[in-house]
């Protein structure tokens, strides 16, 4: 792009002129999300975000003091942040819950509904890169007044929990995998999955949500599981298309372009990054043994936690069964950004 001035910095040992975008520190070819503010809420009382338009937000939960997870509940409009204090489990046997300590909201100067905002930086050093630096702050690709997500470290946490057999009275066993981040404060992290998830509900609801019956004229999307009503055989769509006789599973001339034979998932091998796609379905989940997964940061660690709840023998309703061995793992990213420190750059 001759004639277009840019600011591009690559990671160490990479050439900024040839590096792939994911190997850059930042580049004026790509917008940097501009974090303007972090606010803590201990009640559901709304508060002004300080921008004259509706901004993008992200939100974390602080279920207990000093522990941070994603899935904070908050709405935003042109004036206010409207948080909801969520509930977290305090016991799985019996199941009890309590209010979170706080909901944290991170406000971006980047808008959901465009408006006008430009901070007066007169007399202050600032680095701004954009097509027209006189325009709104959110129209600049890089603006040094606002914070950015900065990657601290990445890796994998894995729990290999053996079979849990507490006996017919049942019980709960919790296993954790942790990494010491050394930051001295609780950081933000990825993936942005909810703080607390139950595996049986996730699998059951997603399976029900994702199941369709094949019929001509219907649009099937990549990833959907579909049953052929003629054979009762299941398939997974691998390319979004409108169904007709030429792409019908097994009988259509082009069916292999659009379908794979359905493969039953391994219910006891859970990739936490995948749990972002949770769906909800009407009605409950018929399950007795349950697996609760938590993912959170503290001032010292990033923590992946699995609690296996083994339901007691309850004849004639339920015959005691140990919790099978299971694996839970996450590919994590820890950011330098603190989860629990308020600031205001507006």
């Amino acid at each position: 792009m001759p004639g277009v001035p840019k600011l591009t910095v690559a990671r160490p040992k990479f050439d900024a002129r040839t590096a792939q975008p994911k190997d850059l520190a930042f580049s004026s070819d790509y917008n940097l999300g501009k974090i303007a503010r972090a606010m803590k809420f201990t009640t559901n009382t709304p508060a002004a975000h300080g921008l004259p338009y509706t901004p993008r937000i992200m939100s974390m939960r602080e279920p207990v003091s000093g522990r941070f997870g994603w899935g904070g509940l908050c709405a935003v409009d042109g004036t206010n942040l409207k948080p909801t204090i969520a509930l977290h489990a305090t016991s799985y046997d019996p199941y009890t819950s309590a209010d979170d300590v706080a909901t944290w909201v991170y406000v971006f100067v980047d808008p959901l509904v465009a408006g006008t905002y430009k901070k007066d930086m007169t007399g202050k050093p600032v680095l701004i890169v954009g097509a027209d630096v006189n325009k709104n702050d959110y129209e600049q690709r890089i603006h040094s007044n606002y914070d950015t997500f900065k990657v601290h470290s990445t890796g994998r946490l894995t729990i290999n929990a053996p079979e849990y057999d507490p006996g017919t009275s049942g019980g709960v066993k919790t296993t954790t995998a942790t990494v010491n981040h050394g930051l001295g404060y609780a950081p933000m992290f990825a993936p942005f999955v909810n703080y607390e998830m139950e595996r049986e509900a996730y699998l059951s609801w997603n399976s029900q949500y994702n199941s369709e019956t094949w019929s001509s004229g219907k649009v099937f999307y990549t990833g959907q599981d579909v049953v052929n009503p003629d054979t009762s055989a299941w398939y997974t769509c691998k390319l979004t298309h409108t169904a007709n006789s030429t792409n019908k599973p097994e009988t259509g001339a082009n069916w292999a372009t659009y379908w794979n034979a359905y493969v039953e998932p391994d219910f006891y091998d859970t990739y936490v990054n995948k749990l972002e796609d949770q769906k909800f379905i009407y009605g409950g989940v018929e399950a007795f043994n349950l697996s609760y997964i938590k993912y959170y940061s503290t001032s010292t660690q990033l923590v992946l936690e699995l609690s296996q709840y083994c339901y007691p023998d309850d004849p004639p309703l339920y015959e005691y069964t140990p919790c099978p061995a299971e694996k839970v793992y996450v590919d994590y990213t820890i950011f330098y950004n603190p989860a629990g420190e308020e600031f205001n750059l507006l």
């Binding site: 910095v9 160490p12 975008p21 994911k22 850059l24 520190a25 930042f26 580049s27 790509y30 917008n31 940097l32 999300g33 509706t54 993008r56 937000i57 992200m58 939100s59 904070g72 509940l73 908050c74 709405a75 935003v76 409009d77 409207k82 959901l112 050093p125 680095l127 890089i142 040094s144 606002y146 914070d147 950015t148 997500f149 900065k150 990657v151 601290h152 470290s153 990445t154 990825a190 942005f192 949500y209 999307y221 990549t222 990833g223 990054n273 995948k274 972002e276 796609d277 769906k279 909800f280 379905i281 009407y282 590919d331 990213t333 330098y336 950004n337 603190p338 420190e341 600031f343 750059l345």
Partner: protein
């Protein structure tokens, strides 16, 4: 750190000295990987709920990155002010009843990201509602992003 003979661009938050500030108080640090937005966008979709139906609308976004990128998104009922973070539900009244439209996402492969808007209640009231959505797909993968 300044003085280590590594050329760099640093900017600190207002009120902090860039020469001594901790990384968490730097707004820009060229020695670190900053999340970079690859694509963003938005649109509207109509949900039509009829009797004994659980409607869903899927928006397929082709990013073609070849890996799973970080993602954030928000949605609202058209004509209202409150945006919520995906995943979430938006509840509204239909006559004397209540209905909820859920916003969710999916990652069917390494080149596509989907937004899902749906009502899971087959027994609920009938309605037609429009949803507005906005999303950001980052360049940075949710696995093995570079760090220093």
């Amino acid at each position: 750190m300044i003085g280590d003979n590594v050329p760099k661009i640093l900017a600190a938050r207002e009120g902090f000295d860039v020469r001594t500030a901790e990384v968490k108080n730097l707004t820009l640090d060229s020695t670190k990987n900053q999340l970079k937005e690859f694509m963003s966008g938005g649109g509207s979709v109509t949900i039509v709920k009829v009797e004994w139906d659980a409607p869903k609308k899927i928006i397929e976004i082709s990013h073609n990155l070849g890996y799973q990128p970080l993602f954030t998104g928000q949605f609202r009922l058209s004509g209202t002010d409150d945006w919520k973070i995906i995943p979430a539900g938006i509840t509204f009244t239909v006559g004397e009843a209540e209905a909820t439209i859920m916003g969710a996402m999916d990652r069917p492969n390494n080149n596509i990201l989907q937004l899902h808007f749906y009502d899971f209640d087959i027994f609920g009231a009938e309605y037609t509602k429009e949803i507005d959505y906005e999303y950001i797909i980052y360049i940075d993968p949710y696995k093995d992003a570079w760090s220093s």
